[in-house]
Each structure stands twice: as C-alpha cells, then as structure tokens.
C-alpha cells in the first residue's frame, strides 16, 4: 500500500510500469539455492503461523479485533509495519536519490506529530467507544449515512490499492529477479489469503511484527556497507557536494537540508514550499492517514488496554523516525556509489525514460528511438551514454530511480544475504497487503454487511463472512492487478483514491471528535461533498495540467506539491461544510455524545505507573528527538 506516497509521485514512478513488462534486458540479480531456501522458509513460516492461530480466531472479537489482547509493543510494531510496504521502501529510496533528504519529510513531519496525536489525544475516544472500525466511529457519532460513505469508499480503496500494489510488486520482481508476473501475484496473494483468512487480524498482526524484523534484518546492511565504502557520512557528503551540481544541476548542499531551501517552490528540487509541507503534508495528509485510516488504526484498536493503545503509536514513532536510515540513506548512497559495468557512475532515470527506451526482444533494437532520444534529452545522462542506449549496445541498460534500493542490495549482498534482502521486500509487500485485506474484511463485515444486508446473524456467521470476504477481497485484488496490467491508464486514478478520501475524512472525524455542535447531516454532507470537491480538484489538474499552478499557488510547483495543497483545500472545504451545516441543523443532546466527543466524555482514569512506563514521558522523548533531527538536518 502506498500510505503516504503522494498519488502523483506514485503514479509518476509506477505509471509506466506496464511498459516495462516488455523489457528484454537481463534481471538485476540471479538468486542462488541458498536465497531460494531463505525465501521459501519465510513463506512456510507465515503460513504455519496462520494455521497455528486458526484455533484462536473463532469469535468475531478474536477474528476481527485479535481478541483485543495485543501488548503495546506488538500493536506498535504492527502499526508501523502495516505502513512499511516494499513500494514505499523502494519509492522513497528513489525519491532520496532524486531529491535528497527532502524525502525524509514523509517519515518525520509527515508522520510523527500525527502518531503522537493519535496516541495521546484521539485514541481514548476510539478505544472508549469500543468501535470496531473508523466508519464504525462515524456511525456512532453521525449515523449510518456518514458511515456508509466512509465504509464503501474505504472498502473500494483498500481492494483496488491492494491490486495495484500487487501488480507493481510483481513487476518489480520481474525486473529485479526475472520472475513471471502471474507467479509473483498468485504466490504472494494466496499466502496472504491463507494466513489472514485462517488467523484473522491476530495472524496479520503476528506476521506484520515478523515482517518488520525481517525488513530491518534484510535492509539494514545496505546503508552500513554503503557508508563503509563511501567513507562515512562525511565522505558521502563530500562526494555529493563535489559531483552533484555538475550532474543534476542541483546544488549538492541541497541534498542535505530538510527546510532551508523550502522558502520558495523553485529553490528546492522537489518543487514544494514549506507551507505545503507543514499544513498539507504535516497536518492534513499525515493526520488523515495516521489517525483516520483504518488500515493502521485497526492495529492499535487491538491493544489490550487503553494505556497500551496510547503507547502503541508512541512506540511506533521511534521506529518510524529510524526508517530513513534504511530507505533515504541507501538512496543518497546510490547517488555516488552505483556504477556501470565499465566503472563509470551509474545515473538512474525516471520510469518514463526507461519505458521510452524499451528494447525490442525480437529485433534487439530500441523500439522507438526518437521517443527514447527525446526522453533522454530531459535527463543529465552523458551524451556518450545516450548514444550507447540508442544503439542498444551491451551494458547500456537504463535503470529507474525506484531501482536504487534493489541495485544497492545487489551491489553488497551475496548469496543468502540477497535472499534475505529480497525476503524483506516481499515481506514489506505482504504486510501491506495483509493490512489491506484484514481492514477490508472488518469494514465489509461490520460496516456494510451487518447494518445493510444481515443485521441478525450469529457471531459465527459474521466470522464466516469475514473469512469469505478475505478470500473475495484477495480475488478482487488479483482481478484489479490484471485490470491494471491490461488497462494501465486507470492506475493513476486508483492511486489517487487515498489522497482524495483522506482530507474529507479527517475533517469529518476531527469536528466530530472535538466539537459537540457538529450534527449528523453535517458529518454526512461534509464527508460526501469533501470527497466530491477533492476528486474535482484531482480531475481538474488531470485534464488541465496547467491548473497545478492554481491548486498549489505557484507556477513553479511540481506534482509533489499538488497533493499536499489539494489535501489542504479539501480539508478546509470540508470544515466549512461541517460548520455551516451544523449551525443550520439541530445538534444531538450532549448526553448522547458520551464516549464520542471531547468535553462530553469522562475518560477512564489510568493506574499510576513508574515514569518509564508513562506514555507522556515517552512522547516527550519522541518530541525531543524529532526536534533535534529537524534542527540537525535543517
């Protein structure tokens, strides 16, 4: 799942993936027997966990909420792991290659404040009202209409995104390892269907924690060995400063600053402004994702008590702050360390350039040399290398930004370790997909099937519906993957779903949770009209690309800026609708808002604990580290 990867970025990086299927070049790596064993053992383990947990997933509370008995550590690691998909890993490593540590914003300001807010402020309401899902909270607060809008949009988003990511991952496996697309799709999705279908959320959470450890075990070596070869952080910085301006046109120093060059859209390579980063990304997108996206919130709802539910996002935030070490750093190291076979520096390019220079497997020549030439003219590839590409000379293959991380893995990881690295990528994909289907299953069963189709089913009936919905969800995801393969134009639209829904949902939930006056019609209309408004902005830029300057308020804005500003406007629009409609309609009595709204809820008092187990103490530590990191990399 893409999580916080802005849709246009994701689309830009993955939109031309189908064209890459025509690749006739050799895969990046060849696995040895030891690597195959490593991958096979992983699959055996995750499926075995599913069978082992089947006996503990008999009731709906066990199947959908993991019995609400997860510790803070398990819930926290699962919370951050469900977001740590392999496409994020590779996509952001590629972004770091392109933009330097500006990409880190999506891990720090784009996550940490929201995670703390979820843990300390919002979690009590989610937890006290005992909702099974985020649409379920909307039902309690605003009624069935708002719940249905959220449930249907969320269910569609989960399944379609799962399919798109499944396809994108299969393409990556084809490019990196030469694996058949259908083989990757079916093996990984059937494994997920088995272990989530058998063990429910408990199995998904168990495996997400396992996958989190594997991701670190498989990916951590790359930055360590890269730093050794680059001469440490000082050596890396020196080499980037010395080389980058002449190659990319961007001052090398810009690669190491988070905020310094965000005073204008034109001053930084990402084409974003700090207002967009702070308000669009840091507030609307980030809070929308981390506090209202049921995919991640479901993990915390499974905690065994309120304190654990509050601690889980705080624990997760420590790991989230560390993720750039295995994602951003390899991208930066790739800038100076990746080499062509002749020893020259390897320059990565966009997926569009790679696709434009596809070599025909029949003729062995570039299929459309004029398109290839035009695409390469926009890059900083040396003229000599461009000629080699055009003549399809040996050792002249092009690699995209998204391949920065796999290329670094291939560079440093030998037999066994490479298998572990590939397992990390597969684990990342499967944890995201398991998150999608388990969240889909809960929303389908509790927020669509139960209220709208069969209100009087037994508990075991709903568990059965949940299991079947996982199988159906995986089947629809596979269908979506093949749909994208054959009609890849829809990929951009599917990937935009997250960014279209997130801001209106955030606005609706925040007003519902913190404003007693917000009414049921306001919640429903705010959510519905907010989605329509957000989708309209998306379509406007899609149909009239020049409109980007209007949406992002600058002619220098780049696609990255579109998402953050679109989210900001959609949130403000939703807020206006909710406020206006609330003031025109009759509010619910305050007594009915107990457990749902700030100021109308008596929160349970928590037992005093030593300071080292207190959530506020750990939250303060997170804030201090977060502030220090932003100052150090200012």
């Amino acid at each position: 799942m893409f999580g916080l990867v802005p849709a246009s970025h994701a689309a830009g990086s993955l939109g031309s993936l189908p064209a890459l299927l025509a690749f006739s070049t050799e895969p990046l790596a060849h696995l040895r027997l030891l690597d195959i064993f490593v991958i096979a053992i992983y699959f055996v383990m995750v499926i075995w966990i599913g069978f082992y947990l089947k006996g503990r997933s008999n009731t709906s509370e066990e199947f959908f909420m993991a019995g609400r008995e997860m510790t803070a550590w398990i819930a926290g690691l699962s919370f951050v792991s469900a977001n740590l998909g392999s496409l994020e890993l590779m996509g952001w490593a590629g972004s770091a290659y392109q933009y330097g540590i500006l990409a880190t914003h999506w891990y720090w300001v784009g996550a940490i404040p929201a995670m703390l807010f979820l843990g300390l402020v919002m979690m009590p309401f989610y937890y006290v009202c005992k909702t099974h899902s985020v649409p379920g909270y909307l039902d309690l607060r605003y009624g069935g209409a708002a719940r249905s809008v959220a449930a249907f949009s969320f269910a569609a988003e989960m399944i379609l995104m799962s399919g798109v990511n499944m396809f994108a991952m299969a393409v990556v496996m084809k490019v990196v390892l030469g694996w058949d697309i259908s083989f990757s799709i079916f093996v990984s999705s059937i494994a997920v269907a088995i272990y989530v279908g058998l063990g429910g959320l408990r199995s998904a959470i168990f495996n997400e924690v396992l996958q989190f450890v594997l991701i670190w075990g498989g990916a951590l070596l790359v930055p360590i060995l890269g730093l050794v070869q680059a001469g440490g952080v000082g050596g890396l910085k020196k080499q980037i400063m010395a080389n980058m301006q002449s190659v990319t046109g961007v001052h090398g120093d810009s690669y190491f600053h988070l905020w310094r060059d965000t005073g204008s859209f034109a001053a930084n390579p990402m084409g974003v402004h700090w207002t967009g980063i702070v308000f669009g990304l840091g507030f609307v997108i980030s809070f929308g994702y981390w506090t209202t996206d049921f995919l991640v919130v479901q993990r915390v709802l499974a905690a065994h008590n309120l304190r654990a539910a509050r601690m889980a996002p705080i624990i997760a935030s420590f790991f989230k702050m560390a993720v750039p070490f295995i994602v951003i750093l390899p991208g930066l190291l790739g800038l100076v360390l990746l080499q062509n076979n002749d020893g020259s520096r390897r320059q990565l390019v966009g997926e569009d350039v790679v696709a434009a220079c596809t070599v025909s497997s029949a003729s062995g020549q570039v299929e459309d040399s004029s398109a290839c030439s035009a695409a390469m003219a926009k890059t900083t590839l040396p003229a000599e290398y461009q000629q080699k590409v055009l003549s399809a000379a040996p050792d002249s293959e092009l690699h995209s930004y998204n391949q920065a991380l796999p290329l670094m893995m291939v560079r440093y990881l030998g037999p066994g370790l490479l298998g572990l690295g590939i397992t990390a990528l597969i684990a990342g994909f499967m944890s995201g997909m398991a998150g999608n289907v388990s969240a889909f299953s809960t929303v389908w069963t509790y927020d669509i099937y139960k209220p709208l189709i069969n209100k009087k089913g037994s508990d075991s009936h709903y568990v059965l519906v949940g299991r079947l919905s996982i199988l159906i969800g995986v089947a629809v995801s596979i269908g979506a993957a093949y749909l994208v393969m054959h009609a890849h134009g829809i990929m951009d639209y599917v990937q935009a779903l997250f960014s279209i829904f997130v801001a209106p949902l955030l606005g609706t939930i925040l007003f519902g949770m913190f404003w007693k006056r917000a009414t049921a019609p306001a919640g429903f209309l705010g959510l519905l009209l907010g989605i329509v408004f957000s989708a309209s902005l998306f379509m406007w830029v899609k149909l009239v690309p020049a409109a980007l300057a209007n949406v992002a308020l600058s002619p220098d804005a780049k696609p990255m800026a579109e998402n953050v500003f679109r989210a900001l406007w959609a949130f403000l629009f939703t807020a206006i609708v909710v406020i206006v409609v609330s003031l025109l309609t009759k509010p619910r009595p305050v007594a009915e808002l107990e457990g749902l709204v700030y100021g109308a809820t008596k929160l349970p008092t928590e037992e005093p604990v030593p300071f080292y187990r207190n959530e506020y103490m750990w939250a303060i530590l997170v804030v201090v580290i977060f502030a220090a990191l932003n100052i150090i990399f200012w």
């Binding site: 030891l34 383990m45 997860m70 075990g217 070596l221 060995l225 070869q229 572990l420």
Partner: protein
Amino acid sequence: MHGSGIPIWFFIGVLLLIYGGMIFGYGIYEWQTASYPPLVQLTELHTPVWWGGVLALLGLLYVVKFRPRRAGK
C-alpha cells in the same frame, strides 16, 4: 503477545536463528574457499559471517527467552 500460546517473539527467534545459521555457515564456507560472488562489493569484510552471526545470536536469545513453556507462566 498477551495471553496464552506461543509468543510472536519465539517465532521471530526461530526464524532469525535459522537464517543466521544458514548465512553464517555459508559465510564460513565462502571465507574458507575464497569463492566470493564476482560482482558483490566489500567481500573482504566477510559480511555473511558477522551478520549471520548477529542474526543467529539474536535469534537464539529470543528462542531461549520466549520459549513456549515460559510464555505460559
């Protein structure tokens, strides 16, 4: 994991122990026979040996600490 049953940390320990053992073993073989993969960098650091060793030790620690008979206590 709260409640009865095998803790997730035990599963993690088992997997790390298996992986660490396999990678460490291969690293020793590679070192002894000097049969390094041609395109891999920094082979002189014998990464599979020490990284495999770290994974195996970590796995062993988790297996011992979270073995099922203790989880029920």
